[in-house]
């Protein structure tokens, strides 16, 4: 795989990260916010795998972290969706701006 420089792969993961970031900032629907977070986590996973494969080929830590992150992302998504549904029950909306009691 030496024909692709590492920086090109890292370009993909970085771009993916900031795309997720953009979604996180601009989306007003909580579920789409959650999706943005998943995108961010994916970009991190790519980084872990790439670094492991190219820089430390004799080790497996990057793989492990990727596995753990995927696991935790699943748990986090489940909890987040439970919260979203609960919020929807109380506010009749899952717009981020409708839950803005946390101020002043």
């Amino acid at each position: 795989m030496a024909d692709i420089p590492i920086s090109h792969i890292l370009f993909v993961s970085t771009a993916l990260f900031f795309i997720g970031m953009y979604g996180l900032f601009t989306r007003r629907n909580m579920i789409t916010v959650l999706m943005s977070i998943e995108i961010i986590l994916n970009s991190v996973n790519i980084n872990f795998v790439v670094f492991n494969k190219y820089l430390y080929p004799d080790r497996l830590d990057g793989i492990f972290f990727t596995i753990f992150i995927i696991t935790i992302a699943a748990a986090e998504a489940a909890v987040a969706i439970a919260i979203i549904i609960n919020l929807y029950r109380s506010h009749r909306s899952i717009d981020v701006e409708s839950a803005e009691e946390m101020k002043y």
Binding site: S7, F11, L16, F18, T26, Y54, L55, I72, A82, I84
Partner: protein, 173 residues
């Protein structure tokens, strides 16, 4: 340009394009579908990187689990097909600016760092992963494994508690 390179650039374009669509589409269900494609693309990238195990996990957990979960929750809370509320213009501009700045900064750092690949082959098997995962000695991941399993249990219990809690209230209301 080898086939491998072509495949990489196509995959990359696919991942980024669907991700951008996913965070910009006005309809939430479409957004979820674009996300699904993007995640599949990432799985493809893993295949391309020859870590098939991670690719499999990615497909099973993300594509098969999380996205389905998200789609369920969309059905529970939204009328799909309705356009979502847009963020204000100011917020949009601020977000784009900060994201571009952040990207420029980060990529500048990465580019200047000039990572060089080692010439060793990446040597992994599922067997190795499984052994090290449950090893208690040096480099063993038994403790994180257990912690994560407890976390999953806690998350499961937590989800049930959060979701169940408001039912009596609803009856009252």
């Amino acid at each position: 340009m080898t086939a491998s390179q072509v495949i990489f650039y196509i995959l990359s374009a696919f991942i980024l394009g669907t991700a951008v669509l996913s965070v910009t589409t006005a309809k939430i269900f479409r957004s979820a579908i674009w996300l699904l494609f993007s995640l599949i693309g990432v799985a493809g990238l893993y295949f391309w990187l020859e870590v098939e195990f991670i690719a499999a996990v990615q497909i099973v957990v993300y594509v098969g689990g999380i996205v389905v979960l998200i789609i369920f929750s969309i059905f529970l809370t939204q009328q799909s097909g309705k356009e979502m509320l847009k963020a204000s213009m100011l917020r949009n501009i601020a977000s784009i600016l900060s994201v571009l700045f952040g990207f420029a900064l980060t990529y500048n750092l990465i580019y200047n760092n000039n990572f060089q690949a080692k010439d060793k082959p990446f040597d992994w098997t599922v067997n190795k992963i499984g052994t090290q995962m449950l090893e208690t000695g040096e480099n063993g991941y038994a403790l994180p494994f257990e912690v994560v399993s407890i976390l999953l249990l806690a998350a499961m219990v937590g989800c049930i508690v959060i979701a169940i809690k408001s039912k009596p209230e609803e009856k009252n209301g």
